[in-house]
Amino acid sequence: MVQTNYLFILALIFAAAAFALAPLVVVFLVAPRKRSAAKYDTYECGVKTYGETWVRFRIQYYIYGLMFVLFDVETVFLYPWAVSYGGLGAFALIEMAVFLAILFAGLAYAWAKGVLRWV
């Protein structure tokens, strides 16, 4: 029973995709099509787009990405702890306090190094 629940999720993925594509099919059937070269240009303030579009971005975005991975993995550790906390007793609280303190130290280090500063 537990595994079959995920079958609904699978069906829902296909259903959602169908729900998104169905109006596009209607558009394909009923919407007007009047081709003109300018219509399919890239939109940019009325002038032709200049230079390469896929430009390089600051390293800052990448660092935020790294921070996200770090903390998201942490929450994966926190969920099982939270679920079984009731049966573990007060010692689990201390253990998690230590874990969170280490993590907090990481955040504080990143903060002090200026990683969190949006320049």
Partner: protein
């Protein structure tokens, strides 16, 4: 509409002996897909757009849509017809396939969030034992869709919007996820149905200092997660046209619009289930069971209970959504450096400490016993409850004050002048530590 064929998909799989799901489960799923996901939810979303226009108009001393039908009630239908008859324009240089894939992906993400919400007793599409982790997984699909949209358009504004959006979404996902951990801790389960049932027994989870803080954190980070004001920088029209959906028009834009409102509805449902006790009317323990306590053995009582629960649930969700409209009508858009600072320097530390506070609340109140445990009064419960409030209440206030104070102090000592430089290619800031 190929809805019928998709609804029949589980049946086909069920007969092929790959999986065993009984006939009633399949019928229930088909009903959920056809009535819920293809009917009621898009309907609610369509009228949310109408409600938002009406509410925003009232905030600005206007009337809002009032031409199409009485009170403008047919406006969503008129909008849908308009979108359907617009020409579909995809820029020549865009990546055609990814351009199409992106809105579909975002809509899938918005749909999947609703699959585990218990709208009433026995009224959850599915009851996944790992519901919360599932939610984290599917809600991180939407940044992917947004990035694909911005990248595939081959438009600088789109790419800028997409980069901003991804940075914002991943930053606010951390406090959003961390603020759900207190609830998981108190309920002892990742399943949203169990979380809902625990609140029927013990009262709403918002009614404790850590619960209140977690609720506020969830509310704020949900606003950021669904790209709504004051966190709507990815689509800041004064700077980057429409952000990641600049090159989307007609129905393809409509899909983004639908997905955004669908996820607003989704996070409102989530907030209601996690903190506001789902469909229960009274917040405190012996009464919070109310619609459930008149649940008898006859089918009629089941229908009655769920009718009450569904309407209460919907009222709470609408309240949640109204707060979002209200915030949008009140607050201006944030600046990008403040946006990121707010996530990492205020909300992440607060939500981490709040996990510990939630554990303290559990030790002080939930483990010794609430005033009412499953309907039977516990003499010491009120004492436990008062001690819990007296300890965690000032502690929570102190933590909030400390985080704000610390940030103020750090900022003034560093004399940090935000050098917001626009444009992608920026040399490393001189004097960065």
């Amino acid at each position: 509409m190929n809805a019928a064929t998709v609804g029949a998909l589980p049946v086909v799989l069920g007969q092929s002996s790959l999986v065993v799901a009984d006939r009633w489960t399949l019928i229930r799923w088909a009903l959920w897909l056809l009535i819920g996901f293809f009917g009621v939810f898009p309907g609610i979303v369509a009228y949310m757009v109408w409600a938002e226009r009406k509410v925003a108009a009232r905030f600005q001393d206007r009337i809002g849509p009032n031409r199409v039908g009485p009170l403008g009630l047919l406006q969503p239908i008129a909008d849908a017809i308009k979108l359907l008859t617009k020409e579909s324009i995809v820029p020549r240089s865009a990546d055609q396939f990814v351009h199409l894939l992106a809105p579909v992906l975002i809509l899938i993400s918005a749909f999947l969030v609703l699959a585990v919400i218990p709208f009433g007793v026995g009224l959850a599409p599915v009851n996944l034992p790992s519901g919360m982790i599932y939610l984290v997984a599917v809600s991180s699909l939407s940044p992917l869709g947004i990035f694909l949209a911005g990248w595939s358009s081959r438009n600088k504004y789109s790419l800028l919007g997409a980069m901003r959006s991804v940075a914002q979404l991943v930053s606010y996902e951390i406090p959003q996820v961390l603020s759900t951990i207190p609830v998981v801790l108190w309920a002892g389960s990742l399943s949203l149905v169990t979380i809902f049932e625990r609140q029927l027994e013990e009262g709403w989870f918002i009614l404790s200092p850590p619960g209140l803080l977690a609720f506020l954190l969830l509310l704020i980070s949900s606003l950021a997660e669904v790209n709504r004001a004051p966190f709507d920088l990815p689509e800041a029209e004064s700077e980057i046209i429409a952000g990641y959906h600049t090159e989307y028009s007609g129905m393809r834009f409509g899909l983004f619009f639908l997905a955004e409102y669908m996820s607003v509805f989704g996070v409102s449902c989530l907030g209601t289930v996690l903190f506001l006790g789902g469909g229960s009317i009274f917040p405190f323990a012996p009464f919070s069971e109310f619609p459930m306590s008149i649940h008898g053995t006859r089918p009629f009582s089941y229908v009655l209970v769920n009718a009450i629960m569904l309407s209460v649930f919907l009222a709470k969700v609408l309240g949640f959504i109204f707060v979002m409209f209200w915030v949008r009508a009140t607050l201006p858009r944030m600046r990008v450096d403040r946006l990121m600072n707010f996530a990492w320097k205020y909300m992440v530390p607060l939500s981490i400490v709040n996990v510990m506070l939630a554990a303290v609340w559990y030790e002080l109140v939930l483990r010794p016993g609430l005033p009412f445990v499953q309907g039977t009064p516990l003499p010491d419960g009120l004492v436990n409850w008062s001690i819990g409030w007296l300890v965690t209440g000032p502690l929570t206030l102190f933590v909030v004050w400390f985080v704000v104070w610390f940030n103020r102090r750090v900022r003034s000592s560093a004399e940090e002048v935000p050098t917001v430089t626009h444009g992608p290619r920026v040399p490393a800031a001189a004097g960065a530590r």
